[in-house]
Structures are given as structure tokens and as C-alpha cells.
């Protein structure tokens, strides 16, 4: 039984005439862990700041438990924020930082002490209460920021890329810790990140954003296995795009030509017509690398091999010059497994593991182009 906690309807926000959030509507359920995922500039942080009350939407309404809070200042909203760079008060001890929100509520001293100690124990910092923020490591500061935000028992915790300043290993630990906290506290978490791996592993639901518009809203599994469009498919995880063309349509199946190979695939939910070009999407782990004399599969040659411990990643160049990536579990007993660079192979997949997308008029940039655009920005 879920009930709506926060709903945004028809929210728009512009900065200097540039639309950052575009008539966006979203409802967030009580107790869920929802992630706003997207590249920089997609509007995810602006959206979070409008929930917190730091920005007011130009249009639309924000409702919390049925109450319109669109114009409510942040200090009167029962939500708290964990900031990207922690934003701890540098002149206060850890204890005073965490106690700040309760002091503002004018709680009795004894209650403040008890609740602050409880919050610090929750993030395993009970021995650090007298330290100043600058005497703590990045991960410890992050935990203080979390304790400071949850000590007020907000209805909702807003987290703005809280782990982006931490190194990889610490980030993994904090991800687990945040999930544990969310379970124990039963508070709704709204988590902003540009890291798709983080989003997949932590969220109940993911909102994929681009240019201030929702691209897809779904569980991590839905977003990964059934991306709604080319952008989501490219942004979340690695994907191989095979060009396909519809050659025949039946009741529940369609025939698709992929590099001259005819494959009978499940009919997609969108409308298809004969001769329509399609994207046949396959995740690297769904591809199989076969010997060149195999009868099925698309011909190509190995151009790169990366041993990843549990898997072996191969980059295969296809006939048309495009490259695909296959990620296979290591199998030492299989003699055919070890191909060398330049060796001809065939790539194939098990029917039903593919995902079909229609071609879009404004196809997004490929990863390489996106990276180049990102570099130019900084």
C-alpha cells in the first residue's frame, strides 16, 4: 500500500531565458528511494532545489502530503537536504552542527542531547562529537551532514550528489550505509546523481532526466532492461546498437534483418511497419562470441580484449566498421574461448534477450561525442 508523499505538477524553471525544467510532473511515494539520474545540466539538481524550497518554480505546484508548499520557504518545509559538498558549519563542533536544526525548533536541552547522540551513533560518529568539521575526513564529514539532516526526522531526505566527492571505495561503503539508513528510518529518499551504477544499485525507482524532461521513470531493472528511448539506453549502462530493418510482421513476432541475417524477434510495443529501420539493443553481457565457422551470428573481428577478473570483455569490429562490446564470464575449460586480437569471429545472442527501439529523428550523441562536449564545457 503506497501513498503519495510529494507531487510536482507542471513544474517549469528558467534561468536567463534557458529552460532547465520543462513542465515536469512527478509523484513520489512515501518511504521509497527515488533517484533523479541524468547528465550535468539535465535539471536534476534544480528539481531537487525546488523540492527543498531554494528555488521557486516559474510555473506549476509542489504538494507535500496534500498541502501546497510551492511558495513555502525552506525553513518551514519538513524536508532536509544533504548537500553535495556537505555544507557543514565550519565554526561549530560536530555536535553543534547536528544539534542546529533541533535548536531552531527550540527543543529542550536534554532532548537535543539525546537525539543528537542517537543520530551520531547511527552514522558511527559518537566519539567525534567535539571535533570541528575540518578535523574530519571527507567520509566522516559526509556522515555528519547526513546525521544533521536526519536528526529532525524529516518526512523526506533530499540528497544532492552526496557521494560525488568521495573516492570509489568509500562511495561503495556509503551507498550500502545510505540504503541501511533509509531502511531503518523509513524516510523517503530523493537522491540526485549522474552515476548510473549508483542509481541502479540503490534505487527503488529511477527518474532519467535530460534537458529538463523525464525520459523514463521505472525500477532499475525496467530502466536497464527495457530503456524507453535511445538516450536512456546509452546513458544507463553500456549498450550495443545493431541496425535492423523490419522484413515481416506477424501477430506476436516480427522478422528483422540484421547485417543480412534474418532473426525472428518479439513484437515491440510501438507500431512497426515493413521496411522500417530499428535499433536492436544488446547489453555486452547478452552477446556471445562464436567461432568464425559458426552458422549463426554477425561476422566481425576482435580488436580489443580486456581481462576483468570475473569477465572477459571483447571489442569486436563488425563488417560496417561499427564496434560492439561483449562481456563473457570466464571459462578456462572452454578452449574456443580465448581469441586473439585480429581473429575473425561471429557475434550472436539468444533470442529474446534483445530490446527493440524505433529510430528517433533527433538521435542523441554517442558516448564519445558526449565526452568531447563535456570537455569543451569545462
Amino acid at each position: 500500500m503506497t501513498k503519495t508523499l510529494l507531487s510536482l505538477s507542471g513544474i517549469s524553471k528558467q534561468f536567463d531565458g534557458k529552460t532547465v525544467v520543462d513542465e515536469l510532473s512527478l509523484t513520489i511515494d512515501d518511504g521509497e528511494f527515488i533517484t533523479l539520474l541524468g547528465p550535468s545540466g539535465c535539471g536534476k539538481t534544480t528539481l531537487l532545489r525546488m523540492m527543498a524550497g531554494f528555488e521557486l518554480p516559474d510555473q506549476g505546484t509542489v504538494t507535500l502530503s496534500g498541502v501546497d508548499i510551492t511558495q513555502t520557504p525552506p525553513e518551514e518545509r519538513p524536508l532536509n537536504t544533504v548537500f553535495q559538498n556537505y555544507a557543514l558549519f565550519p565554526h561549530m563542533s560536530v555536535f553543534d552542527n547536528v544539534a542546529y536544526g533541533l535548536k531552531m525548533e527550540k527543543r529542550p536541552k536534554a532532548e537535543i542531547r539525546e537525539r543528537v547522540e542517537e543520530a551520531l551513533a547511527m552514522v558511527q560518529l559518537e566519539d567525534f562529537s567535539r571535533r570541528k568539521p575540518h578535523q574530519l575526513s571527507g567520509g566522516q564529514q559526509q556522515r555528519v551532514a547526513i546525521a544533521r539532516a536526519v536528526v529532525k526526522r524529516p518526512k523526506m531526505l533530499l540528497l544532492d550528489e552526496p557521494l560525488s566527492a568521495l573516492d570509489y571505495k568509500l562511495r561503495r561503503t556509503m551507498q550500502v550505509e545510505l540504503k541501511r539508513l533509509q531502511r531503518e528510518l523509513g524516510i523517503t529518499f530523493v537522491f540526485v546523481t549522474h552515476d548510473q551504477e549508483e542509481a541502479l544499485s540503490m534505487s527503488d525507482r529511477i527518474v532519467v532526466l535530460k534537458d529538463g524532461l523525464i525520459q523514463q521513470l521505472g525500477t532499475p531493472r525496467e530502466v536497464y532492461e527495457r530503456p524507453a528511448n535511445v538516450f536512456t539506453a546509452r546513458f544507463v549502462g553500456q549498450t550495443n546498437f545493431f541496425p535492423g530493418r523490419v522484413t515481416g510482421i506477424e501477430d506476436k513476432r516480427i522478422s528483422v534483418d540484421v547485417f543480412g541475417l534474418n532473426r525472428v524477434l518479439g513484437k515491440p510495443s510501438f507500431r512497426v511497419t515493413t521496411n522500417q529501420p530499428l535499433h536492436v539493443l544488446l547489453r555486452p553481457e547478452d552477446l556471445r562470441v562464436l567461432a568464425p565457422d559458426d552458422t549463426e551470428g554477425v561476422a566481425g573481428k576482435i580488436v580489443e580484449r580486456n581481462y576483468k577478473g570475473s569477465t572477459l570483455d571483447s571489442v569486436i569490429e563488425l563488417e560496417d566498421g561499427s564496434q560492439v562490446m561483449a562481456s563473457e564470464f570466464f571459462d578456462e575449460d572452454d578452449p574456443a574461448f580465448d581469441y586473439s586480437i585480429g581473429e575473425p569471429v561471429r557475434v550472436s545472442w539468444v533470442d529474446g534477450w534483445e530490446w527493440l527501439l524505433a529510430e528517433e529523428s533527433d538521435e542523441p550523441l554517442t558516448d564519445e561525442e558526449e565526452l568531447a562536449a563535456d570537455d569543451a564545457e569545462h
Binding site: 537536504t81 559538498n85 531552531m104 570541528k132 568539521p133 529532525k152
Partner: protein, 286 residues
């Protein structure tokens, strides 16, 4: 690996220059002042033996004590006015678009290119009995006859504020510029309104700038003897006037030296307080 001085002639030259500068132009003159302050006044040779603490005793002479207290009062008023103008000014300055900030700071510094003595005389022309301000007020019909503006305590304070305001604004601007917006947002987010955020976050975080500004205004304000000379008349003296008079007119060097040591000690105490406030924020040794 340590290199010998022979291998690093430039490094050696810089060290000699800096240490030489400090020894001969800072330490030695100050030692001379200390030495002078404990000697005996002599009308012929200015100072002579024996050593004694008469000059320091004279500092507590009610006549001078009154001058010092009045001087401190005027300097304190100057500092307060500078703070009241400078604090919101620096705050607003830090919120302006970055490129315009540079222009505004440049405009703030431009008056330094004119000698402060000249600028004080300009102020005298404005405040004089038939000066610009009185004429303006009379032509507007606000007053009927010229008000006595010049040679008052107020005129001295106005002159000191005019000369010292940039020294208050610049350190305040620096702390406001460092003030992170997300820390203020965090305060609001945790339930603090504007006033509570100001009191609990903005004031403590800008305190080092306030103390630096006070340091740069309060002590110079007690020393700028030419301001009372031009604007203040005989009753509104600063410690600086007393020191100047002892050396140039009264020929009492030990007493003049003792008075300037008093100012130096006050400065040292303020610097100590400033250091403490910075350490509290973890800006040192972090």
C-alpha cells in the same frame, strides 16, 4: 637535499634582504623607541641617563588620560561607523556579478592615489562655515545660518571615516566572498529564518573579517594626527597628536616614545584576538 648557500645565490640574497630589512628598519627602530621611553628627558640632547619609568607614569596623568580616552572614543566611533557602513557594503559587493565586483573594488581603491592630506583639505572646504555643505543646506532652505561643522568632534570622525573606510571594507569583502552559499542554504534548510541564520552563521563566519577591519581602522584612527590638525581644532586631539607634539613641540621624547609603545601594545593585543578567532574556524593548522 639541502643545497648550500653558495649553490643558491638568489635564495641567499633574498634572505639577507628580508632579514636585513626586518632588523634595520623594523626591529632596530622599535628598540630605539623602547630605549628612549625609559630614559630621562633632556632639553639639550633630547634624552639622557638615568633609566626610569617616569614617561610611563606620565601616561596615567589625568590630563593625558583624558586625551587618550577621548581619542579612543573618537577612534571607536570611527570604527563603529566604518563597520556599520562597511559590513552591508561588503556583503552587497560580494553578491554582485564577479566582473562588476572588480570594477567596484577598483573604484574603492582609486582615492588612495591622492595624498590623504590633500583629501583632508578637500573635506575642510566642504565642511567650512561658508563651505559647500552649508551653502547647499542654506540654498535648500533647510537651515537659515551656517552650522558649525568644522572644528568639531563630528568633523574629525567624518574625516577619519572617509580616510579609513576602505580598510574596513576590503577584509570584510574577503570574508563575505569566501562565505559559501550552500552553508546559508543549509541553515535555512534546518529551520533557521533570516535573522537566526544571520546571527548563528553569517556573523560568526565573518567575524575574522570584522576583527581584521577593526584592527586596520581603530589603531590608525588614533594615530592620524593631521586629521584633528586640519578638521578638529584644539580640543579634539588623538594619541597621534600627543606623540607628534611631544617629539616636535614639547621636546619630551621619552613620553612620546612611551605613548607610541602604548599604541603598539594595543595593536598586538588586537592581532592576538584576530588570530584566536581565525583558529576557531580552523583556518590555521587545518
Amino acid at each position: 637535499m639541502m643545497l648550500s648557500i653558495r649553490q643558491q645565490p638568489f635564495r641567499a640574497a633574498v634572505l639577507v634582504l628580508v632579514w636585513g630589512w626586518l632588523l634595520f628598519l623594523v626591529l632596530a627602530p622599535n628598540l630605539l623607541v623602547v630605549g628612549t621611553s625609559v630614559m630621562t628627558r633632556n632639553p639639550g640632547t633630547f634624552i639622557s641617563m638615568p633609566l626610569n619609568l617616569d614617561a610611563y607614569r606620565q601616561l596615567f596623568n589625568p590630563l593625558y588620560l583624558e586625551v587618550f580616552i577621548h581619542s579612543l572614543y573618537m577612534a571607536a566611533m570611527t570604527t563603529l561607523v566604518c563597520l556599520l557602513i562597511g559590513y552591508p557594503f561588503a556583503w552587497a559587493l560580494s553578491r554582485v556579478e564577479k566582473r562588476r565586483q572588480m570594477l567596484l573594488i577598483f573604484l574603492l581603491i582609486v582615492p588612495f592615489w591622492t595624498n590623504s592630506l590633500v583629501r583632508t583639505y578637500a573635506l575642510k572646504l566642504i565642511l567650512a562655515t561658508n563651505g559647500l555643505l552649508n551653502q547647499g543646506l542654506m540654498s535648500l532652505g533647510i537651515i537659515d545660518e551656517p552650522a558649525q561643522l568644522l572644528y568639531t568632534e563630528g568633523a574629525v570622525i567624518v574625516g577619519l571615516v572617509y580616510l579609513l573606510l576602505p580598510f574596513m571594507i576590503l577584509p570584510l569583502y574577503s570574508v563575505f566572498d569566501d562565505l559559501r552559499q550552500d552553508v546559508l542554504l543549509a541553515s535555512h534548510d534546518l529551520g533557521a529564518g533570516r535573522f537566526a541564520t544571520f546571527k548563528n552563521v553569517i556573523v560568526p563566519l565573518t567575524l575574522p573579517g570584522v576583527l581584521a577591519g577593526v584592527m586596520l581602522v581603530l589603531l590608525p584612527a588614533m594615530g592620524l594626527f593631521f586629521v584633528p590638525d586640519i578638521l578638529g581644532g584644539s580640543r579634539n586631539l588623538l594619541v597621534g597628536n600627543v606623540i607628534k607634539n611631544q617629539f616636535l613641540d614639547a621636546r619630551n621624547w621619552p613620553f612620546g616614545a612611551a605613548a607610541s609603545i602604548m599604541l603598539t601594545v594595543a595593536m598586538a593585543l588586537l592581532m592576538f584576538a584576530h588570530r584566536l578567532s581565525k583558529r576557531r574556524l580552523g583556518e590555521e593548522g587545518a
